[in-house]
Amino acid sequence: MNTTTEPELGKETSAIEAIRQKEKWFTRIVKMQAFQIFLVLLVLVVVFSLLAPDTFAQFSNLRLVVQNASILAVLGVGMTYVIITSGIDLSIGSVLVFSGVVSAIVMRQVGGDNWGVAAIGIAVSIVLGILWGVLNGVLVAKAKVPPLIVTLGSLGMALGGAQILTGGVDLRDVPSVLTESIGYGNVFGSIPLISVIALVVIVLGAIVLHRTRFGLHTYAVGSSEEAARRVGVRVDRHLIRIYALSGGLAGLAGILSLSQFSTTAIAGQSQTNLNVIAAVVIGGTSLFGGYGTIFGTVVGLFIPAVLQNGFVITGVQPFWQQVAVGAVLIAAVYIDQVRRSSTRRGNSQKNRKWPIFGRKSPPQ
């Protein structure tokens, strides 16, 4: 397609395009995996709406879908950054639980049911999440332990820590100022507050990723750590910040979860990390690093959410959702592989690392 629209490609003088950049903008959007997966989501919504116009396609139902996806969206923003650096963070679900548990304990110790107590709880939860993230980041960046192993380790440590602190019994005394506002409060009529918080995180996350130096360095570290290092990007510090961001958002998600469910739900997050990673990957972010969008992650979250909701409503056994999401996930990574090998003609494989297992070349 490019060769037909750009006849002067062969010219070897100054062939810098300026005029064609505007029309290419549209082509690029269409080619984006995030956009293609967005079309899949639209098709799903349309199909379920036609099948169940009176139940699925109701504001109250869609509101529920959005509300249920909100906590995962907050986690997804951090995970997108981590995966763009060609890392992975398995610990988010456990860090969420740990932060929520300690926050609940601190709020109970302080006592009372007012915004002062709630503010302390929120701060405790986020700070603890950041600390777990810094631990992950230091081990990944400085100790050079592969991120899969680091975060698998901190997954166990955070979850175990939460169970030690509670004796394995969920805490249920959450201040009602939190449950009534963040938990099931609404703004602008009937928009869930928790979803508005998630939206703010998404928008900020997208702006920082796509418009700032921090975002550029994130892509650079994932694209070629060595190239970034040679031009003076402080790669180690940046990785620590990325894992701290992911941990901090897990801490925020901890307080959101505490508010939404009025319990620490220690056992309830065992699949969270995998669901979030699946969403990020379905949204077109490359596990090999260097490529990805927040928009894609949000779309990637809604595919499983809409499937689950739609299957329940249309009477399909909801277990089919896991089958369908699994297939979509594999398809998404396959598309990424095809895209990578077609855009990297002639490029050396030497610097690539297969992200999960450290620094081996990816199997071809």
Binding site: E6, L9, E12, T13, S14, A15, I16, E17, Q21, K24, R28, V208, R211, T212, R213, F214, L216, H217, Y219, A220, G222, S223, S224, E226, A227, A228, R230, V231, G232, V233, G289, G290, Y291, T343, R344, R345, G346, N347, S348, K350, N351
Partner: protein, 253 residues
């Protein structure tokens, strides 16, 4: 005689029991193309790494415009106007040419937006475009990832980046090794243009015809030591090969 812009004296570096550099001297003058040649393992890359701040030395002194300096990082060399184009180019494949040129040295927006980390994208784009046009470089798109471009284009981007930031010395490590006839000619023309701006160019190559074609001065390394430092007038390939392999010796300045 003018002061060398960059000079190394008695540079030594051992890797285990192997002396990669053994009391090597080296100097580059502004507005000159200095070819650095030598057989495999002669210490060329080690010397370049030492002089561009990527490798620490066991002993020896480095002078920049006559002043003794210690180069501890590539960024420090960059601050002095010393840039290196590595053989593997060291570009981030997912980033655009503009992002690659400015990576690590982004120009930020003015005022509060800049403090928040927002970049001045129009300025970076315009200046990168100028840098590419200055070189007559063929960069087909400023917005596509460089990983999707041909070897020649990526080479052009890497060189343009170095030229854009260097104002004293550029090291080019085997810049023509992976190129076709036409791109090679472009790179050699580029080197001449850069030299004519008054920048010192250090050209490392195994291709003796290119060296004879372009170099003003040729320095030969053998077994970690400089065995010849000659001006390029009437030099023949046989002579250079002889110096590299040790078949003949000639140590005139």
């Amino acid at each position: 005689m003018t002061t060398p812009v960059l000079e190394g004296r008695g540079l030594s570096r051992k890797f285990g029991f192997v002396s990669a550099l053994d009391e090597a001297d080296f100097e580059v003058f502004p507005g000159e193309v200095t070819a650095l040649i030598g057989d495999n393992g002669a210490g060329k890359s080690t010397l370049v790494k030492a002089l561009s701040g990527s490798l620490a030395l066991d002993s020896g002194e480095i002078f920049f415009e006559g002043q003794p300096i210690v180069l501890s990082s590539p960024s420090q060399a960059s601050l002095l106007g010393i840039e290196t184009v590595y053989q593997d180019l060291a570009l981030a494949p997912h980033l655009t040419p503009v992002q690659n040129v400015y990576l690590g040295r982004e120009s930020m927006s003015r005022g509060i937006a800049g403090r928040l980390g927002f970049m001045n994208v129009p300025e970076m784009t315009n200046k990168s475009r100028e840098a590419f046009e200055d070189l007559g470089a063929t960069v087909r798109s400023l917005t596509a990832p460089v990983g999707s471009m041909s070897g020649g284009q990526r080479q052009a981007i890497a060189i343009a980046r170095a030229v854009h930031w260097a104002n004293r010395v550029i090291f080019l490590d085997e810049p023509t090794a992976a190129l076709g006839v036409r791109q090679t000619k472009n790179v050699l023309d580029t080197i001449r243009r850069v030299r004519d701006k008054g920048i010192a160019v250090v050209f490392i190559s195994h291709s003796m015809p290119h060296v004879i074609d372009i170099a003003d001065r040729i320095q030969v390394l053998r077994l970690g030591t400089r065995v010849a430092n000659i001006t390029n007038s009437g030099t023949t390939m046989e002579e250079l090969v002889g110096l590299m392999t040790g078949a003949s010796t000639r140590t005139t300045p």
